[in-house]
């Protein structure tokens, strides 16, 4: 396969100027025909190997790795689902109730998740005030899930969550992420929404799934701008 100068430079992870100089100095194997140069992929690959230089396989793979868009808050919330009237007297009972609805988790992972959620709660409460809590496992469930998920749970009866402002909590955003990065990203997006007083009063109206996701989509749009 023939490559252009730019492709060759990219695959070798070098500036084009450097490859041009190497051609001039005769350090890199090329086919020369008059003023034009050709790069043979197989020859270059062999040459790079003997010189201990990196020669990436395909340009497409590179591009895929480069452009990895962060997950939007809306899709995460859609994955997690919205639950209304979740019963329970304390945090553990409520968590158990929600986790039991996660079809995508195996039994062992469900136990693990509960255990990690409780571990996190024992460190310090995840109740952030205004009747809202964002419980999450102490460390992300790397392999167990493919997509991050945020479950919005409106409680049957507000419970005491040992929140910062002491107010009883009426809504939980249970967050499980694939990595620390996604966790931080989603947490930052979510707290951006929750800082808005109008959104908090909107939550107090116990909206249904569609209305909630529409609202979140609005916030996502603001972020993208």
């Amino acid at each position: 396969m023939k490559l252009t100068l730019q492709e060759t430079a990219k695959r070798l992870d070098l500036p084009t100027g450097m490859v041009e100089r190497w051609i001039r100095q005769g350090r890199i194997p090329i086919r020369k025909s008059g003023e034009d140069c050709y790069f043979e992929e197989t020859v270059l690959e062999k040459w790079a190997a003997t010189h201990n230089l990196a020669f990436s396989k395909k340009e497409d793979e590179l591009r895929e790795a480069d452009i990895k868009k962060p997950v939007s808050l809306r899709s995460a919330m859609e994955n997690g689902g919205v639950f209304h009237g979740v019963p329970g007297k304390n945090a553990e009972e409520i968590f158990e109730k929600i986790i039991s609805r996660y079809d995508f988790l195996s039994e062992t992972n469900k136990e693990l998740l509960l255990q990690r959620l409780m571990e996190r709660e024992s460190l310090t409460s995840t109740g952030i005030g205004n009747g809202i809590a964002i419980p999450h496992p102490r460390s992300p469930l790397n392999e167990a899930i493919k997509q991050p998920a945020i479950s919005t749970c409106f409680l049957e009866n507000p419970i005491d969550f040992k929140a910062l402002d002491g107010k009883p909590v009426f809504v939980l955003f249970l967050m499980i992420s694939t990595s620390i990065q996604t966790h931080l990203h989603l947490l930052s997006r979510l707290s951006f929404c929750l800082r808005d007083p109008s959104f908090v009063s909107f939550l107090a109206s116990l909206p249904d799934k569609n209305r909630l996701l529409e609202k979140i989509a609005l916030f996502d749009r603001i972020d993208n701008q």
Binding site: M18, Q25, G26, S33
Partner: protein, 576 residues
């Protein structure tokens, strides 16, 4: 023209598509033959001029002959060819290390003519360096004609030099070794094979055209252990003489540089001095091959005193010729001085220890020559092979190796750089392949730029800047003037961190108030060596690069190391 064009690109020919080493070998042979012919031409014309002028030597005004020759040769070089005086070897080495072996076409004959004038008229210099220069220029221009790349061109320059030395001395191995040891400075199979072929071609050309004669034939030598021990003495003597000659040449060069008269009259002045010396010691004039021959045969007249005086006179004459602007090399004078030193030493030890059966004088002359060559050029291998080949005397190899090694080591102690390389070393231009200096010199600042910095305007508010900091993954922010686009300063995140969290300052501070204006800058044409030195002394990791007043990117140690390694790998590993 249309029919000639395909010729210009031999890499397209079916035969050379298989392996481009073959191409170099074939062209190498052509280059070797051409430079061999150039060497013969110079040799023949030198002899012709010397013979013509021989009849005038006994006149009282004969001392102006070297003066005229040197002046004309200086005028020729300066006015017509527009080149600097000197022997040309440093120019070749510089071109090989920095310009990919590019040499001007006119260099292929300029030194031949100028040195022919200088030496033919009686100046004390050698024809070897000019021949090397023209051989190298022939190689370079043939490579350019065939549109070859730098690596191939350098090999062909080496081929030219090898062909020239091989032809002039009828000594293929010496030509080969000289070319690799002095000119190319890199022992790799890629270079050695074409150069060897060129050496063979150069030698063969000279044998076909003027017969297979050994430059200085000799008689059988019988060397004992005691002679080898005595050889150490010669090593010390020749090393001392090498240092004296090197320093004297430099001194002369300095004095002539300070003299405020036209260049050609300087050369004339030097030539006059040589002519004066020539009145008393006619043997110092010219390249001196004739006296070498009689010394090796052991038939040189005169006692210790005369030979010693001749030796000193030759040193003086050589420094007057070369130091004041005459054109020629130092190779032949070295051989002459070396053989004078050899027989002087022989006569001295015979005088002190008359009862010991010493080897004959010629043998000591050979050893002296080797000592002198390896002392001045600091190229012991060239010295050993050259002497063995030009005399056909393999019996002297043991003291030869010993003396060459000792002399080169001693000289290196006092004069770290050899005669050919000293100027380059002083100008920091000696860049042998695969060395740190070479890698740094080959890498350009433009190839190392990191272009992922976000440029900010001088009138931007801190509030807006904080938004930019969020998006950036670099700690450096170049500041430019919004109107002119000129670079005016840098903001380093570390230095403004406290203000970033002070929201009171957000709307009161402009970036030009917190940027640093006293920034170390680099430019696109800067030497990487200087940039690295700045980084080391000031403890910096990244420096902004400016071109035409504008910011173009950052250069940092991490990128330099990354590309440095790649460059080193590519320079030191050969793929053919």
């Amino acid at each position: 023209m249309g029919k000639i064009r395909p010729w210009r690109y031999p890499a397209k020919w079916g035969l050379f598509r298989i392996d481009d080493r073959l191409l170099l070998i074939v062209i190498g042979a052509v280059v070797g033959s051409c430079s061999g012919i150039a060497a013969l031409l110079l040799n023949r014309s030198l002899i012709a001029i010397l013979e013509t002028l021989h009849d005038y030597r006994h006149y009282w005004w004969a001392f102006v002959l070297p003066a005229t020759g040197a002046a004309v040769s200086s005028l020729f070089l300066k006015k017509i060819i527009k080149e600097d005086a000197g022997h040309g070897v440093p120019e070749v080495i510089y071109s090989v290390s920095r310009r990919g072996g590019l040499l001007r076409l006119r260099s292929s004959f300029s030194r031949l003519i100028s040195s022919c004038l200088t030496i033919g008229s009686g100046g004390s210099a050698g024809p070897e360096a000019p021949v090397v220069m023209s051989g190298a220029a022939i190689g370079s221009n043939i490579a350019r004609f065939f549109a070859l790349n730098d690596r191939q061109r350098i090999t062909l320059v080496g081929c030219g030099a090898a062909g020239a030395i091989s032809s002039i001395f009828n000594a293929p191995i010496a030509g080969m070794v000289f070319s690799i040891e002095v000119i190319i400075g890199e022992w790799s199979a890629v270079n050695i094979i074409p150069i060897a072929i060129a050496a063979v071609a150069g030698t063969e050309v000279s044998r076909v055209l003027q017969g297979n004669q050994i430059a200085f034939s000799h008689r059988q030598f019988n060397l004992g252990t005691i002679d080898i021990v005595a050889g150490i003495g010669i090593a010390v003597v020749t090393a001392t003489l090498s240092i004296v000659l090197t320093r004297l040449l430099r001194k002369m060069h300095k004095v002539s540089g300070q003299t405020n008269i036209p260049l050609w009259s300087k050369a004339a002045l030097g030539g006059c001095a040589v002519g004066m010396i020539g009145i008393f010691f006619p043997d110092v004039l010219g390249e001196g091959y004739h006296s070498i021959r009689s010394m090796i045969e052991g038939a040189y007249p005169g006692g210790i005193a005369i030979v010693s005086f001749l030796m000193l006179a030759k040193i003086l004459a050589t420094s007057f010729t070369l130091g004041w602007g005459g054109s020629g090399g130092i190779f032949a004078p070295c051989l002459v001085i070396g053989s004078f030193a050899g027989i002087a030493w022989h006569r001295l030890i015979v005088f002190i220890f008359p009862s010991i059966a010493w080897a004959n004088e010629g043998c000591f002359a050979l050893i002296g020559m080797a000592g002198m060559i390896s002392g001045i050029l600091q190229a012991p291998l060239t010295a050993i092979f050259l002497i063995v080949e030009i005399t056909g005397g393999y019996e002297v190899i043991l003291p030869l190796i010993l003396v060459s090694a000792i002399s080169a080591t001693l000289c290196h102690y006092f004069e770290p750089a050899s005669f050919y390389l000293r100027d380059l070393v002083e100008r920091r231009q000696l860049l042998r392949p695969g060395t740190d200096g070479r890698v740094l010199a080959d890498l350009r600042v433009g190839e190392l730029l990191e272009r992922d910095c976000i440029v900010v305007g001088r009138h931007m508010l801190l509030r807006d800047f904080v938004e930019i900091v969020k998006k950036s993954h670099r700690n450096y922010f170049p500041v430019e003037d919004e109107h002119t686009g000129k670079f005016i300063g840098m903001i380093h995140l570390d230095h403004i961190r406290p203000y970033l969290f002070d929201s009171v300052m957000y709307d009161t501070v402009f970036l030009e108030q917190i940027m640093e204006t006293d920034v170390v800058k680099a430019y696109l044409d800067n030497d990487l060596n200087d940039i690295l030195r700045d980084m080391d002394t000031l403890n910096l990791y990244s420096i902004p690069v400016i071109s035409d007043g504008r910011f173009v990117g950052m250069i940092s140690k991490a990128t330099i190391l990354d590309q440095y390694r790649k460059e080193l790998l590519v320079q030191t590993t050969h793929w053919t």
